[in-house]
Structure formats: structure tokens, C-alpha cells
């Protein structure tokens, strides 16, 4: 990047003057203008740009909501209700932010599926993938803390369920929970720290997105064939080709998002979200937001304590197993570039992997169903089967296929594939 600053010439003198001193324009030119990009992206490759747009929308709506929000146990619920009624377009800010979280996760989950399907996490893109998993973890933390802020029955009791998980940690568990709460029960101090972190984390996400994209611009993008570009015929400049394609995809996504905001803003919201938090009254059915349901189901899939036979000494409580499995299910993704040893990236050329990945999607749906239901009857078995397949997929099937799968012949190059 540094070397190209000298050679760049701009017609506009002001731009040239700035560029000689700080080569931002050369950088934009190199990274978003000329940046050579595989010519064969399908619409799955829109979702990075879409996720970035959603991050922007969440930050902008969030900042305006923060101007009217009062982060105190006695005022939080009321301040949100008042801003939706009495602030100009307050209802719009609130509904866009609420549903924006869902659409942010939709975009990111599709983006992750794209990565899994086309093997985008493989050498040399391991770091891009790892930064991506970190972004997802940060998003989950941010979304969870944001869910607490309206201080409704769902907020307060959701926080109770999730923070209480840390009590499963041996020896220090109870102390840890008190430390997280800032007291011996969930109250204003808990809300206050969640608000501070909910405001901070999106900017941390921005920073990790920056390195995610930076690393991408070092290796270049993967593509549907999974074959690296070999000649200039295989690539096209990012702009105008992908700027226009990404813009089109983003606007289509916005149509769906806005349809939800304006015509069905409460479709994903539980009625208990409109009752103020009452620590003395537990709602009949506490459910997390849809994007947490599969992981919530993994948490609840474990119901048997593991103890030393013929004694009452419990080695691993069911609760701790669930907590470890839930966090493990996400953390293991960090190691995926090394778990999957197959040299072939794209599932297009991996006939068995392709169907195993589809099964993983089915398992996630089963887990989502199990997470939404009370833990009884069929839901329990959906949860166990889904959890079993999730770990089987990543810990057994993927490593095994890496060694034994007969892959299809790879296309010779991207442009030959496109021209066929």
C-alpha cells in the first residue's frame, strides 16, 4: 500500500494534496476500486456487505435511542415506552433497532453458511474465519445485553437464566454470579453495566470487522469454485462490478427488513416483553430470541449428572455439561480450519460433505425448535438429536471426510467455469 501512494495521480488538486500527505484516496482506489475480485461470485457473497450495512443501521438507531433512554431499574421500561410514543419517530427507531438485531443475525448466519459451504475458512483464510467467529461471539454478547435494556419481564428473567449459568462453575460459581450482577439480585447495577457494555461492544465489533476485512484484502476472496484465481481473466475490479451487485442485494434485503419493521414489528416479540420486570413473579415460559434458540437447546440437552459409580460424588453436573457444551459449540468453530483437513474448499466438489452440511442445517432447525419449546416430550429428543449431530459433524464427520472423501475433479480455472 505504501509504495503505490507516489504513483497515483488525481485530477483534483485538493485530493492530490491530501493524498500526498495521507494516501487514503490511493488506498480506497486500491482496496475498493481496482481490488481484483473473482468474477464468479453468486448472491451468497452479498451477505458480508449486508451484515456491514446492518451494523451501521444498528449503531445509528442505537445512538438515537440512547439519547432518550434512562438506564435505571425504575425508569428503563417507562423511558422506552415514552420514547416510542412521544419522541418524533421514536417508534420507528425502536422497531428498527429491535428487528434490526434479528436481520443482522439473519445476514450473519447466511454469511457463515456461505463460508461453511464454500470452504472459505481454509488456508490461507484461517485468520479471516477466526476474526469472524470473534465477531459472532461479540454480536451474541451485545444482543443479549441489549435484550436486557427494556427491563421487561423477558429482559429480567432472560438475564436471570443466562447469568445463573455461571453458577455452574465449580468452587467460585456463586461468587462469580454476584460479581456479574453487581449485587445479590438482578437490579439497577446489573442494568447499568449491561447498558455500558451494550454501548461499547458495537464499536469493538467495528474494530474486529476492520481486521476481518483487512485480512480478506491480503488473501483476496474465496469464490464458488473454491479454486484460487490464476490469471487476470479470473478477476474483475471490485468497483463497479461488486459495488453495484452488493448495492442491489443490500436494497433487496432492506425491503424485507423494512416490511417487518413497518408491518409486523412485533412478530418476533413475546407479550412478556411489554410487562415491566418484576423479580417476584416468574413468567410461565422464558424463551430467548430466535437467534439464540439452537444454542439454548444445546444448553438444555444435558440432563444427567456424571458421578463416580456407586457413590454420591458428582464429577460433572448436568448444568455444567450444558454450559460447557453451549460455549464449546461456538468455540470449536475457531479450530475449524484445522479440523477440516480436506484440500478441496467448495462443497460443489465434495459430494458427501455437501449433504452432511445440509444435515447440520436440519440439526440447527431441530435445535431451534427444541429451544423454543418447554423441555418435555418430543422437544427433548429434538434437542438431544440435534446436539448429538452438531458435535458429531464437527468432531467426527468433518475430520473423517477430510481424509477419506472422494472429491470431484476441480475446475481448471474460474474463467473456464464461467464460460462453460
Amino acid at each position: 500500500m505504501a509504495g503505490s501512494a507516489k504513483t497515483e495521480k488525481f485530477d483534483n488538486k485538493t485530493i492530490q494534496w491530501i493524498n500526498d500527505r495521507l494516501p487514503v484516496f490511493s488506498m480506497m482506489q486500491d482496496e475498493y476500486g481496482k481490488f481484483p475480485t473473482p468474477r464468479n461470485f453468486n448472491y451468497f457473497w452479498n451477505f458480508g456487505a449486508i451484515a456491514m450495512a446492518m451494523l451501521g443501521i444498528m449503531i445509528v438507531t442505537g445512538i438515537f435511542l440512547a439519547m432518550h433512554y434512562v438506564p435505571t431499574g425504575s425508569m428503563a421500561f417507562e423511558s422506552i415506552e415514552r420514547m416510542s410514543r412521544d419522541v418524533n419517530y421514536g417508534w420507528l427507531l425502536r422497531y428498527a433497532h429491535m428487528n434490526g438485531a434479528s436481520f443482522f443475525f439473519i445476514a450473519v448466519y447466511i454469511h457463515i453458511f456461505r463460508g461453511l459451504f464454500y470452504g472459505s475458512y481454509k488456508k490461507p483464510r484461517e485468520l479471516i474465519w477466526i476474526f469472524g467467529v470473534v465477531i459472532m461471539l461479540l454480536m451474541m454478547a451485545t444482543a443479549f445485553m441489549g435484550y436486557a435494556l427494556p427491563w421487561s419481564q423477558m429482559s429480567g428473567w432472560g438475564v436471570t437464566v443466562i447469568t445463573s449459568l455461571f453458577s455452574a462453575v465449580p468452587l467460585v460459581g456463586d461468587g462469580l454470579v454476584t460479581w456479574l450482577w453487581g449485587g445479590f439480585s438482578i437490579d439497577s447495577p446489573t442494568l447499568n453495566r449491561f447498558y455500558a457494555l451494550h454501548f461499547l461492544l458495537p464499536f469493538v465489533i467495528c474494530a474486529v470487522v476492520f481486521v476481518h476485512v483487512w485480512a480478506l484484502h491480503v488473501t483476496g476472496s474465496n469464490n464458488p469454485t473454491g479454486v484460487e484465481p490464476k490469471s487476470e481473466k479470473d478477476t474483475i475490479p471490485f468497483s463497479p462490478y461488486y459495488t453495484t451487485k452488493d448495492s442491489f442485494g443490500t436494497v433487496v434485503f432492506l425491503v424485507l427488513f423494512m416490511a417487518m419493521v413497518f408491518f409486523a414489528p412485533l412478530l418476533l416479540t413475546e407479550p412478556d416483553h411489554f410487562r415491566q420486570f418484576d423479580p417476584m413473579q416468574t413468567p410461565s415460559h422464558i424463551v430467548p430470541e430466535w437467534y439464540f434458540l439452537p444454542f439454548y437447546a444445546i444448553l438444555r440437552a444435558f440432563t444427567l449428572d456424571i458421578s463416580i459409580p456407586f457413590t454420591h460424588i458428582v464429577l460433572l453436573t448436568a448444568k455444567l455439561q450444558g454450559v460447557l457444551a453451549m460455549f464449546g459449540s461456538i468455540l470449536l468453530l475457531l479450530f475449524l480450519p484445522w479440523i477440516d483437513t480436506s484440500p478441496v474448499r467448495s462443497a460443489r466438489c465434495r459430494p458427501i460433505y455437501k449433504w452432511c452440511l445440509m444435515l447440520l442445517v436440519v440439526a440447527m432447525v431441530a435445535l431451534g425448535y427444541a429451544g423454543a419449546k418447554p423441555p418435555e416430550g418430543a422437544a427433548v429428543w429434538f434437542g438431544r438429536a440435534g446436539t448429538f449431530y452438531y458435535f458429531l459433524h464437527f468432531l467426527v464427520i468433518v475430520p473423517w471426510l477430510g481424509k477419506n472423501e472422494k472429491t470431484l475433479p476441480l475446475p481448471k480455472s474460474i474463467h473456464e467455469e464461467v464460460e462453460d
Binding site: E78, Y109, T244
Partner: protein
């Protein structure tokens, strides 16, 4: 194919949330404001306000509403002022440091019937009449639930043991509700001459409460239509632009 799988995954996950453990089947009513572009039936909402004012408001607060909000229902500024003027509110402290009573203004919040929750419980045999500002959004099945409870009072079937002070209601979870039957035929005399049957009153007050819980619904739907039309046109233009630019590649 992949997209369909993923999307049906999402839909399944979403729809499964809608079921709640509940065997009570509420009678489904037609609510004009629930359709895609549906607006509130202003006449019904106004009648519902009369029911609220004459019946419900003796126990149930509506703390997120101000008298000025009634202007949205088609009342003139003078009418709103007249409604507010029926109430006295506590204001202050004045320059002498004393709280004082004054006539309510359109800018005041609806006056609550009780000083606080403890006072409300004390006057209601220990039960707390919920604030009604968000009731429609805070109950599973919203409008149908409220209409059901208002019309679901009957004598307890033989064999059902009622707790002291409780009333039997076929649509209330558990069937024992602290609220006594609030509405009956002819409970209010509608100023627009509509016949005040129990069902009519229940339907009207439910629509009033739906408006109270989502007063911006009409503005939301109207703005939404414009936003969607704009975005669709924008998407069309972007598609054309993309096509034209990509045509150079061939």
C-alpha cells in the same frame, strides 16, 4: 435450494415460538385494525374511550397516555380540554414549597385511580388491576384475549370450588379472576346512539385499548407503504444499473 432450506429453517424456528401452553380456545373476532393496511375504527375507539372512562378507569390506570393523545381519535382541542378539565391533579411544589391541586390540562398524563400499587391492592382485595396502556401487547392473543375475558364471565360450573372474592371466567387462565364482571348489556349509554350490548361494549373498549397500546400504528403503516415502494423502485434501478455494468464483461 440452499436458500430455501435456510429460510424454511428460519420460519420453522419462528413459528414454533407462537405456541404457548394453553388449552383455552378464545373466540376469534374480526379486528379491522389488524389487517395489513387496516386503520382504527375511530367511532368504535371513541365509544371504547367512553367505556374506559365510565367503567374501567375506576380501577385501571392508563399511565402512558396523555389527554392530548385523544386528539388523534378525532376529538377537537376544546373537547380534549373539556375531558382533561374533569380531573384534578397534584402539581408543585409552588414558591412556598407546597404541593397544590389544579385542573388537569391536555398535556397531563391520564390520572391514575390509585396513588400507587399498594393502594390499588388495598382497595381490591389484594389484587392489582394492571395498567392498561400496554395490555393488548402484553397478553398472548391481545385483542381476542381481552374481548374473551370481558365476555367470559359466567356462574362457576358445579364442582368448581371458588376461592373467596374470586369470580369465574371461562377465558381467564385458571378461570378464577379477582375482577368482578365489569360490563353488561346497557352498562353505558353511548352518546352516538349505538346499542350498548355487552359484546358491543367489549369490542369497543378492546379497540380503544389496542389504540392505546399502539397509537402510532396508522402512521407506521402509511410510512411503511411509502418506504417499501421507494425501496422497490430503488432495487429495480440498482438491478438495471448492475445489469448494464456487468454487460461490459461479456
Amino acid at each position: 435450494m440452499k436458500k430455501t432450506v435456510l429460510f424454511s429453517a428460519l420460519l420453522l424456528t419462528l413459528s414454533s415460538q407462537a405456541f404457548a401452553a394453553e388449552e383455552i380456545v378464545l373466540p376469534k373476532q374480526h379486528w379491522p385494525h389488524k389487517s395489513l393496511f387496516g386503520a382504527y375504527d375511530k367511532a368504535a375507539v371513541q365509544r371504547g374511550f367512553q367505556v374506559y372512562k365510565e367503567v374501567c378507569s375506576s380501577c385501571h390506570a392508563l399511565k402512558f397516555l396523555s389527554y392530548r393523545n385523544l386528539g388523534d381519535l378525532g376529538y377537537t382541542p376544546d373537547e380534549v380540554k373539556a375531558v382533561a378539565a374533569q380531573f384534578t391533579v397534584t402539581d408543585g411544589p409552588n414558591d412556598d414549597g407546597e404541593m397544590f391541586e389544579r385542573t388537569a390540562l391536555p398535556s397531563d398524563h391520564f390520572k391514575s385511580p390509585f396513588k400507587n400499587d399498594k393502594a390499588a391492592r388495598a382497595a381490591n382485595n389484594g389484587a392489582l388491576p394492571p395498567d392498561m396502556s400496554l395490555l393488548v401487547k402484553a397478553r398472548e392473543s391481545g385483542e381476542d384475549y381481552i374481548f374473551g375475558v370481558l365476555t367470559g364471565f359466567e356462574d362457576a360450573p358445579a364442582g368448581v370450588e371458588m376461592q373467596p372474592g374470586m369470580n369465574y371466567n371461562k377465558y381467564f387462565p385458571g378461570h378464577q379472576i379477582a375482577m368482578a364482571k365489569p360490563l353488561s348489556d346497557g352498562q353505558v349509554g353511548y352518546s352516538d346512539g349505538t346499542g350498548a350490548s355487552l359484546e358491543q361494549e367489549a369490542r369497543d373498549v378492546t379497540q380503544f385499548l389496542a389504540w392505546a397500546s399502539e397509537p402510532h400504528m396508522e402512521q407506521r403503516k402509511q410510512t411503511g407503504l411509502k418506504v417499501i415502494l421507494f425501496l422497490l423502485a430503488f432495487a429495480g434501478i440498482m438491478y438495471k444499473a448492475k445489469k448494464k455494468i456487468w454487460a461490459k464483461l461479456k
